[in-house]
């Protein structure tokens, strides 16, 4: 592997800049003549906008403009789109209401923008915003999915009667019913998957700069996928054609999915910059992040699992209500359908599955993909069901899982996915060994003698990453292809620039992507730089989400590298008067195999650019590109086991141990992988114990600051014990599965299974706050 190659724990190149405060985030950018935007947001969950009076604000010093939703309509700026079409079980397309970037008539969630003030400074814009008088007529609101689907509930959009976006099904209902009819045992469970606020460290921000002479826009924005942003902004929102719009996503401080989507603020900033003839900057604050960044999860599910007399699963029935909030965000429709129900087979052989998903509008912040997106909801459901089943069938939870594991690959599930490889027993074994599962009973007894309730919880997750084969997702309704592109540019001195469509907002691409190059060429990673996040530099790309950057993005780089190396070998062979087939690349040199004849890589590069002595007919230069479209999803899987203690006096949970045994396929940089797992586990534990975005019955957010929304802190989580059981992914040449979301997908169920084991009561919703646990312990 070499000291900097694949598999090496290379320290992150980008950290010097981040740790020394030299990162360049959108808010750090200041343009000449820049104005500042402050949005005026609805304090009501549902209201008619009767009148907006900005006359007083317009007279205030430094105020450039006050723009409203009606002006957006007048200028024919398009509404926000949802990019994945879902068809209901009756064959009808999903039913969506329009989402204008600023509401001209009706607001449908607290925080929705109705107008924007543009001023010389941020404070002046904020002062002026207070002088804008918006006359609202309040309407009845609904925040809860069950309340929203009741007859007589407040209606959000005329296009979606009954607040229903779709009623979608997957699987074979007849076969599933038949399995249940013959079942020896049926296990039933109701679960809520709590709504989460993503809380990236850097709030969203945008700077739009219109060049009237060139009729060209530049947008600096906090995006996980700047090319997709450009595509959507130009194709659907009428901002500018793609070649007249440059989107730059510089350093971005975390996304967790929330920065995939195109939001109203960047659209308005672009439009406003042309209207006022000056650059417009908007930087969200934490309150705006809580109110307007797409939330995650929010499912209410009833599920039943059928078992035969040998404790083999024979069928699974699932009915889920998914809360979409007030509008359909960019990929929202796909999350509770193709990213959720297709993973309901878990790690298990389940012959028949039927799932129904009802998408519901409520007067809350829109919900979309958040770390794991659909897969945490599926994994949590299945792993809570398995635990419930083990308790009901009185068998060891690990043994019940083992009885039902898929062991033959490839394996076609009844819900679309074809698992390519895996070894579920290996990760279960590794985790059980790491936590000393066998010794648990003795530890539990010991804890009991000290007045503590000790529990252990298993979670065997599987997820689909490496999103995704374009043809497959296209057939399921996706509006885009999900390939990735890369370009390898070798400079005449032999340094290398890798241009990638992946976007790093914490993942460490600037290190791991260089490691691939170092591995192949034997050059130090200091000779390689990674270029990303600028549509003027990188030709196209689909961005980073769904743990796709290594499996898809890095494979595209590999393909481009192979092309570049092939040409370089020809040049080397020509220079060394050898046959191309005899050239091998070692330690930065191109060698004739079995001889001491060699030429250093920089000399090959120089030869390509001087072009003095190239093979006949060869073009000068050394630059290649590739587009890579994966042939299948990848399937990271693993087992998490958590051991904890509950204090019966307070209901407080303390961790004793948390082990993770993951199969991510090949690891490029184990240190970075561990960081990804740590972060994911903390988010999964956060969901299980702390985090919950709550609305009251009238749609008022109750948790719009860190004083109320409990983010996990370092002392809330244990020190993790990580290990890997590897099966290489056969779907891509590097054998990579992906590691970005696993922790968030698998952790919650392990925690809740452990707490319910500790307290001896199976029904406990997330987040398992001390209050909730205490009440569950002491409930009759």
């Amino acid at each position: 592997m070499g000291v900097e190659g694949i598999g090496a724990r290379v320290v992150r190149k980008e950290d010097k800049r981040f740790i020394t405060g030299k990162g360049r985030y959108v808010d750090d950018i200041k343009l000449v003549g820049m104005t500042h935007a402050h949005f005026i947001r609805s304090p009501h969950a549902h209201a008619k906008v009767k009148k907006i009076d900005s006359s007083a604000a317009l007279k205030m010093p430094g105020v450039v403009a006050v723009l409203t939703g009606q002006q957006l309509v007048d200028d024919k700026v398009g509404n926000l789109i949802c990019g994945w079409a879902i068809t209901s079980k009756d064959g009808s397309p999903m039913k969506m209401g329009a989402w204008p970037a600023m509401a001209p008539e009706t607001v449908r969630f607290v925080g929705q923008a109705v107008a924007v003030v543009i001023a010389d400074s941020k404070n002046l814009a904020r002062d002026a915003a207070e002088a804008v008088v918006v006359d609202y007529e309040e309407l009845p609101a609904v925040a809860d999915v069950h309340a929203a689907i009741k007859s007589g509930a407040p209606q959000l959009h005329p296009e979606a009667p009954g607040n229903q976006v779709y009623d979608w099904v997957i699987g074979d209902e007849g076969a599933t019913d038949a399995a249940f009819a013959k079942a020896a045992n049926v296990v039933k469970l109701d679960v809520t998957n709590n709504r989460l606020a993503p809380n990236a460290m850097e709030p969203r921000a945008a700077i739009a700069d219109y060049d009237a002479a060139e009729e060209h826009f530049t947008l600096y924005t906090t995006s996980q996928n700047p090319h997709v942003a450009r595509l959507v902004l130009s194709a659907f929102y009428n901002i500018a054609p793609e070649h007249k719009l440059r989107v730059i996503a510089p350093d971005v401080g975390g996304g967790f999915g929330s920065k995939i989507f195109i939001y109203p603020e960047e659209m308005v900033a672009l439009w406003a910059s042309k209207k006022v003839g000056r650059p417009v900057k908007w930087t969200g604050d934490r309150t705006e992040a809580f109110l307007t960044d797409a939330h995650g999860r929010d499912h209410v599910t009833h599920a039943e699992m059928a078992f035969d007399a040998n404790n083999k699963i024979t069928g699974l029935k699932v009915k889920t209500y998914a809360n979409f909030g007030a509008y359909m965000s960019l990929f929202s429709s796909s999350v509770p359908t193709y990213l959720y129900a297709t993973l309901l087979s878990g790690q298990y052989n389940i012959p028949a599955i039927h799932a129904e998903v009802i998408g519901v509008y409520t007067n809350t912040t829109p919900v979309d993909a958040y770390r794991g997106a659909g897969r945490p909801e599926a994994s949590y459901l299945i792993e809570r069901l398995m635990e419930t089943a083990a308790r009901q069938l009185k068998v060891d939870p690990a043994a019940l899982r083992r009885t039902n594991f898929i062991t033959q690959f490839p394996h076609q599930t009844p819900v679309i996915m074809a698992y390519d490889t895996g070894d579920f027993n290996a990760s279960l074994d590794a985790a059980m060994k790491a936590i000393d599962y066998a010794g648990f009973a003795a530890r539990k007894a010991q804890a009991k003698s000290q007045g503590k309730l000790r529990g252990i919880g298993v979670s065997c997750y599987i997820e689909a990453c490496g999103i995704a084969p374009s043809k497959a997702v296209g057939s399921l309704g996706a509006g885009v292809g999900l390939w990735e592109s890369a370009e390898v540019r070798v400079n005449p001195v032999g340094t290398i620039e890798i241009l990638t469509g992946s976007h790093s907002h914490g993942q460490g691409h600037e290190t791991t992507f260089c490691q691939l190059v170092a591995d192949r060429l034997g050059v130090p990673i200091s000779q390689v730089s990674i270029v990303h996040g600028d549509t003027d530099k990188v030709q196209f790309g689909m961005g980073t989400y769904g743990s796709r950057s290594a499996a898809v993005g890095l494979t595209a780089i590999l393909k481009a590298m192979e092309k570049m190396e092939s040409k370089a070998k020809k040049i080397a062979a020509h220079a060394l008067e050898a046959s191309e087939a005899d050239i091998v690349i070692e330690n930065g040199e191109f060698k004739v195999t079995g001889t001491d004849k060699a030429i250093a890589f920089p000399m090959v590069a120089l030869a390509a650019y001087t072009a003095h002595n190239l093979p006949d007919g060869m073009e000068p230069g050394l630059k290649e590109s590739a587009f890579y479209d994966p042939s299948n999803f990848t399937f990271p899987a693993g087992t998490y086991i958590c051991e904890l203690e509950v204090d019966p006096g307070t209901g407080k949970t303390s961790f004793v141990n948390f082990v993770a045994a993951d199969d991510f396929g090949r690891l490029i940089n184990p240190m970075i992988v561990e960081g990804q797992v740590h972060g994911g586990l903390v988010q999964g534990i956060g969901q299980a114990l702390l985090e919950h975005a709550i609305y009251d019955a009238n749609g008022q957010p109750v948790t719009a600051s860190f004083m109320d929304y409990a983010m996990p802190r370092a002392d809330d989580v244990p020190s993790f014990n990580l290990s890997h059981t590897t099966t290489l992914c056969p779907g891509n040449p590097l054998g990579i599965k992906g590691c970005g979301e696993a922790g968030a997908i698998g952790a919650s169920a392990a925690v809740i299974n452990a707490i319910t084991d500790a307290i001896g009561k199976n029904n406990l919703e997330m987040p398992a706050t001390p209050d909730r646990v205490w009440r569950t312990i002491h409930a009759a």
Binding site: G649, G651, T703, D708, A710, W774, R775
Partner: protein, 266 residues
């Protein structure tokens, strides 16, 4: 934040006179409450008078059976002070579980009690220990100082200069942290005075702010031990209820925290 005028006072008298001259002034100590509120534009003082650099408001003194903590002493300085640790270690402990390091480096005892957040830690210590609040005008017994949510006996422009605590025979504090803010979801401070009296105060629990808990005081007076509280019943009525804790849960916490505080006090 709205525009405001900042003044750095060098003495208590100067601070008081600056206050008198401004139309709508606020004193600033650690800023851990005032500044977030101003940033959110929920407060718009015309003038901000900083007490943080006034020498006479800094430091801790132990003389005989009285521990005096000056108003602008930060939590961190209290937590690490040798006299505090020696005389009333429960106060050092309380400070160590207050907020986070950033808050402890800036926040002050004077700011905490002037603000009288119903979930703040220090009010429980003052009430249970029978402390005296010293101001630039008078001395106020803790029993008379806290007047309900965010309300105190302080008059407009009155400056807290110090808090003096009678050194108890035994004292302990236990706190269930609020999962998000880390204030007290409920915290209980128990103290046994040198004359054998018992005082118990709970914070974070009551709808009307920090409170004495007479039932627990009586039980502990009879028998200073955690088990003495086993059969005490705390009513949930009048207790706070929110997404992080029902009133019944807080009633339970008053009892459980009191038991643990007694255990900690020894």
């Amino acid at each position: 934040m709205y525009q405001t005028t900042y003044h750095r006072a060098s003495s208590v008298d100067e601070a008081a006179s600056l206050f008198g001259k401004s139309s709508d002034a606020k004193f600033l100590a650690g800023g851990q409450t005032l500044l977030p509120v101003m940033k959110q534009r929920l407060a718009s003082p015309s003038d901000v008078i900083d007490l943080g650099k006034i020498k006479e408001l800094q430091g801790v003194e132990l003389s005989g059976d009285t521990l005096t903590i000056k108003a602008a002493t930060t939590y961190y300085d209290i937590m690490t002070n040798a006299d505090v640790k020696k005389a009333i270690p429960a106060i050092a402990y309380l400070t160590s579980v207050l907020g986070d390091p950033a808050v402890r480096y800036r926040g002050t005892i004077g700011g905490s009690i002037a603000n009288n957040d119903p979930a703040a830690d220090f009010p429980a210590a003052l009430l249970a220990l029978g402390a005296t609040v010293k101001t630039n005008k008078r001395s106020i017994a803790a029993d008379d100082f806290f007047k309900g949510l965010f309300t105190t006996a302080l008059e407009d422009g009155e400056i807290i200069t110090a808090v003096s605590f009678p050194v108890p025979a035994k004292a302990g504090y236990e706190k269930m942290r609020h999962p998000a803010s880390r204030f007290a979801l409920t915290g209980v401070f128990v103290a046994q005075t040198k004359s054998g009296d018992v005082r118990v105060a709970a914070t974070g629990a009551s709808q009307s702010g920090v409170m004495r808990v007479p039932a627990i005081e009586a039980a502990l007076k009879a028998n200073w031990s955690p088990s003495a509280i086993d059969n005490v019943s705390i009513s949930a009525s009048g207790l706070l209820a929110d997404i992080h804790g029902t009133a019944e849960y807080r009633a339970n916490l008053v009892k459980v925290m009191a038991q643990r505080a007694v255990a900690a006090a020894g």
